[in-house]
């Protein structure tokens, strides 16, 4: 048996597990902050896939450069998302995503 961590499959498996955990957490939880953290977990899972497949095809560094951009976008997303959560908290005095229903009424 070949040792672990020298095939791309292990990384694909790990990234799939991480992504599904993050997606399910986003769907299950009702705390907006936890939901934003679950988005970060999903972004990290896709980043891991990008880097793993770049290790499989190492002729250029495209995957790692993509992962770098994904990290930059994730930073921007976290800043704007947390600002929106603060505004939402000021508006409704809650971080419960069920309370974000002003447009429904």
């Amino acid at each position: 048996m070949t040792p672990l961590s020298y095939h791309v499959q292990e990384y694909v498996l790990l990234a799939a597990l991480l992504f599904s955990i993050g997606a399910l957490g986003f769907l299950i939880r009702r705390n907006v902050l936890i939901q934003l953290m679950c988005v970060e977990i999903m972004l990290n899972a896709t980043n891991l896939l990008l880097v793993a497949f770049n290790r499989l095809y190492p002729s250029s560094m495209t995957g790692q450069v993509f992962a770098f951009f994904v990290i930059a976008v994730a930073a921007a997303e976290a800043a704007v998302g947390l600002a929106i959560i603060l505004g939402f908290y000021r508006l409704r005095n809650s971080v419960h995503s069920d309370d974000a229903d002003i447009l429904r009424h």
Partner: protein
């Protein structure tokens, strides 16, 4: 088991455990620390995949900035950041939901391990000289990916300005909110009429 396998296994355990802690934790601070565990585990994976530059960026940006931002907001909100207990789900719904989640996760994992590269059967090939170093990533970043790199700086500055615009309270509101008084109230004991303009303090007619 080689050292590399043990290292991979530890990082994988850290990633999965951190993600589960984030999803399950009632206290969002624990969720943030679970996210931190996941991020550090993924940085370890990057080292295993010969992406040293990305591992450093991951620790600096994610662990050093994003998680700290989360903790800042959690501390700002205090106890209000805790999730309200929602105890109105029936046990049947809970069990069905648990089985559904397990089915989704297992199906995803099953599909994932079927993936393999047709050319090399998923086995990692030998690496060129400076794969994943700052030098090679920087070379690619400033040649092929120069336009997106510059655009990402614009994205970051727009995001920061947008975050400030969304999160700040208007100055008037901030002053007015505590006691609902205008500055005319505070300095002159009431609204200032145009006829008072010569002697704004002298509201008392006897003076």
């Amino acid at each position: 088991m080689t050292i590399g396998s043990i290292y991979f296994f530890l990082c994988a355990i850290a990633c999965i455990a951190g993600a589960l802690i984030t999803v399950v934790a009632r206290n969002p601070i624990r969720g943030a620390l679970g996210l931190l565990l996941t991020i550090v585990g993924i940085a370890g994976m990057y080292l295993k995949l010969h992406a040293q530059f990305l591992a450093a960026v991951q620790v600096i940006v994610y662990a050093g900035a994003i998680v700290i931002l989360f903790v800042f907001v959690l501390m700002l909100l205090g106890a209000d950041a805790m999730e309200r207990p929602t105890g109105n789900r029936s046990p049947v719904a809970r069990i069905a939901g648990g089985f559904g989640i397990a089915a989704i996760v297992l199906f995803t994992a099953y599909r994932a391990i079927q993936v393999y590269s047709p050319t090399t059967n998923g086995h990692f090939p030998a690496l060129p000289e400076d794969f994943g170093s700052v030098k090679s990533v920087g070379k690619q970043l400033f040649s092929e990916a120069l336009a997106p790199f510059e655009l990402s700086t614009a994205l970051l500055i727009v995001a920061v300005i947008g975050a400030i615009a969304v999160a700040r309270t208007g100055h008037k509101k901030a002053v007015l909110a505590p006691n609902n008084l205008t500055s005319a109230h505070r300095f002159f004991g009431g609204p200032v009429e145009p006829r008072d303009a010569v002697h704004p303090i002298a509201k008392d007619p006897t003076l």
